[in-house]
């Protein structure tokens, strides 16, 4: 009999490549740590005890399964399609990020490492990591772009309350990209005692695969729940895409269901045509960033271009390699959503359903409004409601001039 995690692993690539994408473009100093992580993960996958620990924590600590809520009032704004929200916003710590964090924290303990480091954009991954560090008694350092520490100050306070050290990153663009650079610099220095708990499905192999498999619980549950509620598979599943962790978690268990459309929504900021955006798949080209080959925003000299989005969590000039592969293979579709469209959807979901989504998630809500209108009232759409908007109240108040 196969284990729970083996089942999640079934469409896997053993070399870390998704077609031409993925791979490992890192200093030799990190190769041994990546090999160790991959080996430990492959052992853990077939270890019944690890599976039991992971599943118990997801159930009793994270609060899984997360509900699948039908958004009946919202539906009429989305062409009358039946819309369901996969409520990752109700997880402990308020977003999907905790799924991967619990998995990797268990791996950290297995590897005998006592210190974890992580990058964070919106702060959700940082909060989830600081939470797991508290639970497992690990030292925790979070790197966060200085600009993000300002726009997500509430999450900075949460991380500190949880006992983590938050290091504001002042190099480069002072956002998520530079937080990852700084975390990598820490890791290459302290790799023998430290696990880098990378929070998205980008980065060098095995991170895209490990992150995806730990997050696949989202799609596994959603698939079962929608079958129970509607008796059939959905017409489409949708999610926002920055690095792409919540999207791949929802998409992956549906990849073999050829009739289920996969739609990802990227942050178009002020609009792709303005150059002020973070829509890597829609407006980028193939290149290398942070140890992986994927779509990136960069110039002809291979220099990373600055990204922009109102949403700190999507403000990243790269994307996970599996999304690049899904795009090029035509299996998934990726669309840009501007700041304005996202904020309109943020307000719409709040008012129609009483659910304030994260601004990241609002990009998927906005995309689903358009998609529902295209697909019509017979369609069934599952949105990954990847996070809650508490952290964004200040940004929203400013945007809507509420104060």
């Amino acid at each position: 009999m196969t284990t729970f995690l083996q089942d999640l692993h079934k469409i896997d690539d053993q070399t870390g490549h998704f077609g031409q994408f993925g791979g490992r473009f890192v200093p030799e100093a990190l190769i041994s740590a990546l090999d160790q992580l991959e080996a430990e993960y492959l052992k853990a996958v077939i270890d019944p005890k690890f599976n039991e620990d992971f599943q118990n924590l997801l159930k009793d600590y994270v609060g899984r399964p997360s509900p699948l809520t039908e958004a009946k009032n919202f539906s009429k704004h989305a062409g009358g399609a039946r819309v369901f929200l996969k409520r990752e916003d109700l997880n402990h710590t308020g977003s999907h990020k905790i799924n991967n964090v619990i998995g990797q924290a268990l791996l950290t303990v297995r590897m005998g490492k006592k210190r974890i480091i992580a990058e964070t954009g919106a702060g959700q991954h940082g909060v989830a990591t600081a939470t797991a560090a508290a639970l497992f008694g690990l030292e925790c350092i979070i790197y966060m772009g200085e600009e993000d520490t300002v726009r997500q100050s509430l999450n900075v306070a949460r991380m500190k309350l949880l006992g983590a050290t938050v290091v504001p990153v002042t190099s480069g663009t002072k956002t998520l990209k530079d937080a990852i650079n700084e975390a990598m610099r820490d890791w290459v220095t302290n790799v023998e005692t430290t696990h880098y708990l990378l929070g998205t499905v980008a980065g060098p192999h095995p991170f895209p695969t490990i992150g995806r498999n730990f997050h696949s619980i989202i799609g596994v549950e959603a698939r079962q729940q929608i079958l129970e509620k509607t008796g059939k598979l959905p017409t489409a599943v949708t999610a926002c895409v920055g690095g792409g962790s919540n999207a791949i978690g929802l998409f992956h268990p549906f990849i073999l269901d050829k009739d289920v459309q996969l739609h990802g929504y990227e942050a178009a900021g002020d609009g792709i045509e303005t150059g002020r955006h973070a829509a890597t798949l829609s407006g980028g080209t193939i290149g290398i960033l942070h140890g992986t080959r994927s779509y990136v925003l960069q110039d002809e000299n291979g220099q990373t271009l600055p990204s922009h989005s109102i949403s700190a969590g999507l403000d990243y000039p790269g994307v996970g390699p599996e999304h690049a592969w899904l795009k090029d293979s035509g299996r998934a579709f990726y669309h840009p959503i501007t700041d304005t469209e996202a904020m309109d959807a943020f307000s719409l979901l709040s008012r129609t359903e009483g659910i304030i989504p994260a601004i990241e998630t609002a990009h998927a809500i906005a995309g689903t409004v358009k998609l529902g209108k295209e697909l019509g009232k017979d369609a069934v759409i599952v949105i990954n409601c990847s996070g809650r908007g508490d952290k964004d109240v200040e940004t929203a108040a400013k945007w809507f001039k509420l104060t």
Binding site: G23, R24, F25, V26, P27, E28, A29, L30, I31, S32, A33, S171, G172, K177, D178, I180, N181, M184, R185, V188, T189, N190, V191, E192, G287, I288, L289, H290, G291, R293, Q298, D299, E300, N301, G302, Q303, T304
Partner: protein, 265 residues
């Protein structure tokens, strides 16, 4: 024998290690980087590594990050790097470039190797391209007669050392410690151990870099390595000078100190 190997042979015959200097292209200006590197080669440096500026230098500490920011501000792209390679190569001494993989792959792997050859460059150091991903690069460098340098680290297993050194044609770059570039107060004890481990797998020259900050440290490294690589220490003195003339003078003095340091015994 490639010109890189000749330099190491010559240094060996003089009972010393080769002195290798690193400077980002376009720092402090494009012309300034040419003038400084020419001075380095006149003041005891055997071989220069010209850094290709990159927006996300995740193996570099604050000193080189600062220099790279200046270089990017000066609009130092690959065409400018090739111009610098061409000018510095006129010295007759071997000129290498050192580049993160992103700029090379984006520019075109073949195109980069070909332009290096046309500009008179002899080798390329690729610190974040593991040999596992290097098939196209190996073809391009072989076809264009450009030497390859890969980096090994104290964390590299013997199996990795064998794999990496097998793909090297220039010299093996041994990172003296686990960490990013920068000056350090002492030489890591792991450097000698790593060099000894690397020697079991290759006859190629081995140069040690990362953290070599002064002449005493260079001397210590020269006792077990074939080459000593200095980067941040040069950038540091340039950052401290008010103008190019003073920078050139300060770099020349530092080169002479290091050149004395690299003697064996």
């Amino acid at each position: 024998m490639s010109s890189i190997h000749q330099v190491f042979e010559k240094a060996k015959s003089e009972n010393r290690a080769a002195l290798i200097a690193y400077l980002p292209a376009g720092f402090p200006t494009i012309d300034g980087s040419i003038a400084i590197m020419q001075e380095m080669l006149n003041s005891g440096v055997d071989l220069v590594e010209i850094g290709v500026p990159y927006s996300d230098p995740l193996m570099d500490g604050p000193i080189i990050q600062q220099a790279v920011e200046v270089a990017l501000h000066n609009k130092t792209g690959i065409n400018e790097v090739m111009h610098i390679v061409k000018e510095v190569s006129k010295s007759g001494k071997p000129v290498l470039t050192m580049s993160y993989w992103s700029p090379i792959e984006k520019w075109g792997i073949d195109k980069f190797a070909k332009q290096m050859n046309q500009s008179g460059g002899v080798g390329v150091i690729t610190p974040d391209l593991p040999p596992d991903e290097s098939a196209a690069w190996i073809t391009a460098t072989d076809e264009n007669e450009i030497d390859r340098v890969f980096v090994v680290a104290p964390s590299s297993s013997d199996e990795r050392l064998k794999l990496v050194t097998n793909k090297v044609t220039g010299f093996v770059y041994a990172a003296s410690l686990m960490g990013v570039t920068g000056t350090r107060s002492e030489v890591s004890s792991r450097a000698a151990e790593l060099v000894n481990r690397v020697r079991k797998h290759t006859q190629l020259p081995i140069a040690v870099g990362l953290g070599v900050s002064n002449s005493d440290q260079a001397h210590e490294v020269a006792q077990f390595a074939d080459g000593v690589i200095v980067g941040s220490a040069f950038v540091n003195v340039i950052l401290d000078q008010p103008n190019l003339k003073d920078s050139i003078a300060a770099v020349a003095q530092l080169c002479k100190d290091f050149a004395r340091g690299v003697h064996k015994g």
